[in-house]
Amino acid sequence: MQCMSYLFASRQSANQNQLDTRTIGQSRSLSEMFPESAVDAGAVGFILSRIQRSAQPVLWVQDRLSGKEAGRFYLPGLNRRWPILRVDVTRAVDVLLAMEDGLRCKGLAAVIGEVWGEPPALGFTATKRLALRSEANGIPCWLIRRATNPDLSAARERWRVASMPSAPHPHDPVAPGDPQWRVDLFRSRHSRPGTWVARYDSAADRVDFSAPFRDGAVAESDGAIRRRAAG
């Protein structure tokens, strides 16, 4: 098992040698996030771990259905990373309006929006506006989309995140430990798409990325690389 994982790790590093894991998900542009299910908070946890701790506030915009179905963020659980400015609106159009307004303001650490379903207002043009505005001021912008399939969008990065069984707890064998997520960057403009297992290290407040373990055929190049490494 360990041998296999080593083997896959080496392949992954060969594939992704130009991608520094510290920059995964740190783009200062529009990223779309598709959580695996509405009740899965792993996607939100991943986003939170990707926004750097700062004294500047994060603008969090949510439409009514997202709040009803997936809950709202809970400040005691956020560990005082940044102050939050919350906007509750009813329609998806208002979410986009508020996000765009927020991206105009340089005093924000990030802008997070949550949209439920496939509203007609959220098309290619709307996402392009968000992406351009976000790049103009260099503010990370995350759009969380639930109950929908990824369709046409101008988002620079598109993610799919699902929770995985957590790491073992250091003191209690039956308790869940640090969270782990399967992170899938399936569309990316500036870097190479990839799939990782992200483990949030709560003690050090950082995310460790590793290659996913999966059963499958070994690619042709793997052996070659290993032989070259050996020889």
Partner: protein, 488 residues
């Protein structure tokens, strides 16, 4: 103080009441009620026994205070130095202004006339010190005037409460046999000082007497009246849309504000319709501002709420809640910094969505999860007290806990499996329970305790579940289970 058209006739005894320690107490009474023998600060139920047909209304003390503050500024017509004195008085420093009204006596007549035109009855007095004027206005003769060498002789016949003393001190002095100010002034000073050496100024008759006699200084510190800023445009003929004129109005107003060094936090736009109606739109900002473009943008899609009727021919824009704003340049290139931009963002969002929907979360001191987080409006500038989070908490919380069907091995233990939103979650690992007791000082009697579990299901999703109550706690049937939040 407030005038209204539905005041009761003077022969009906009527009182205003405030909440006292044991039910409502009398705050003010009209003439008929005073003649009937009602006493101030007595309980309303007791006074009803004296006067069965008494009419009682609740006093609006806040409104009275606000009206008095306006009256302070209005009283600047007689002299430039005015200030409110207690809940029902005004002090005017008329030094050097009385000759403009033809002497002190003529000035008092003028004041009484003007105040009666406002519907106010006033007791007036002129004296060289604040304390003496207070005493003469309330306990002295009609429009009594006192010169510097007459203070002692004019105050001497007045009773002791005219020295602005508390009730207990007045009672004590009466027991000591000191009923008038003259009797108090004739006392040897040393034993009196020794008797009241620990008393504060409002309860110290020696210091109060010194103030009234002018031996202890009591300056009048005046409040400053804020200037009013207003821009208007008169139109040659009625129009239906104010938008084209808004930019010019904002520029005009902001130029006025900049000239005096002020910024505003509220803007009131009013259109005066040809049929005599007035329609208004108000916006607010989180920080005082005089940026014309920013203020104009706050009216975005609010102008539609104006009902133009058959058109309007006068538009006014008035600044409310003005504050002095210094010009601050924080960056060498003259650009604005993040804080200012943030304040403007909050203004824009609040103007568009309403103050209720743009909020900041704050931590509160409570163990009950839904009370541990509070929401304050982003547009106010309140700083919440910081509190600590000691235990691990989920990053998302459901608006209302959702009930789930649960299978468990032992009643007090963790669930093995639960069904939520028609999906079955098999629990593989759990942490807990963490028991959170109801807050008896807030919750209704019979509220059950909660045992919280952090549970991970077979796909790796982590939930925050709780069981409400215990099996034998005698507060209802079998305990129910709820999902309350999700961990990352």
């Amino acid at each position: 103080m407030e005038r209204s058209g539905d005041a009761p006739p003077d022969e009906v005894p009527m009182v205003l009441a405030t909440e006292g320690q044991h039910g409502p107490v009398i705050h003010a009474a009209n003439r008929a009620a005073r003649i009937a023998g009602l006493r101030m600060r007595a309980r309303v139920v007791d006074m009803r026994a004296l006067c069965p047909d008494l009419r009682v209304e609740y006093a609006d003390t806040e409104g009275d205070r606000a009206a008095l503050d306006r009256l302070v500024l209005w009283a600047r017509r007689w002299c430039p130095w005015t200030v409110a004195d207690g809940p029902d008085g005004l002090v005017l420093d008329t030094t050097g202004s009385d000759h403009l009204w033809g002497g002190e006596a003529a000035m008092l007549v003028e004041m009484e006339t003007r105040l009666s035109l406002l519907g106010l009855t006033a007791g007036l007095g002129v004296a060289p010190t604040w304390g003496a004027a207070w005493a003469l206005a309330r306990y002295g003769g009609v429009r009594q005037i006192c010169s510097a060498d007459q203070i002692a002789s004019q105050l001497a016949p007045l009773s002791v409460p005219a020295l602005r003393l508390g009730d207990e001190t007045v009672l004590l002095l009466r027991r000591l046999g000191l009923k008038t100010i003259g009797a108090l002034a004739d006392m040897p000073r040393l034993p009196l000082t020794r008797r009241f050496v620990r008393a504060d100024l409002p309860d110290n008759p020696v210091l109060r007497l010194d103030q009234a006699m002018g031996r202890l200084a009591e300056p009048v510190s005046s409040v400053e009246a804020l200037p009013r800023f207003r821009a208007q445009s008169r139109l040659p003929e009625p129009i239906l849309d104010p938008a084209p004129y808004l930019a010019a109005l904002c520029h005009d107003l902001c130029a006025q504000l900049a000239q005096r060094g002020f910024g505003c936090r509220h803007l009131h736009l009013a259109v005066y319709r040809t049929d005599g109606e007035v329609s208004t739109v108000n916006v607010a900002t989180s920080a005082p501002s005089r940026d014309a473009d920013h203020l104009r943008r706050l009216f975005y899609d609010k102008l539609e709420r104006i009902n133009p009727g058959f058109g309007f021919d006068l538009i006014t824009l008035e600044a409310g809640a003005v504050e002095a704003v210094d010009i601050v340049q924080t960056r060498l290139d003259g650009g604005a910094d993040g804080d200012l931009q943030l304040a403007r963002l909050i203004d824009r969002l609040t103007a568009r969505f309403g103050a209720r929907f743009v909020t900041r979360p704050v931590l509160r001191e409570s163990h009950v999860p839904e009370r541990a987080e509070g929401w304050t409006r982003a547009i106010g500038d309140t700083q919440a007290a910081a509190s600590q989070v000691s235990r691990e908490r989920p990053i998302r919380l459901l608006e209302h806990p959702e009930e789930v069907r649960v299978l468990y091995a032992v009643p007090e233990g963790p669930p093995v499996q639960f069904i939520w939103r028609r999906q079955t979650h098999r629990i593989t690992r759990y942490a807990g329970p963490e028991r959170i007791a109801p807050e008896w000082w807030v919750d209704k009697p019979g509220t059950r305790l909660r045992d919280y579990f952090k549970a991970e299901d077979h796909t790796g999703r982590r939930f925050w579940l709780y069981r409400e109550g215990l099996h034998d706690d005698g507060r209802g049937g079998d305990p129910r289970w709820f999902v309350h939040g999700m961990f990352a």
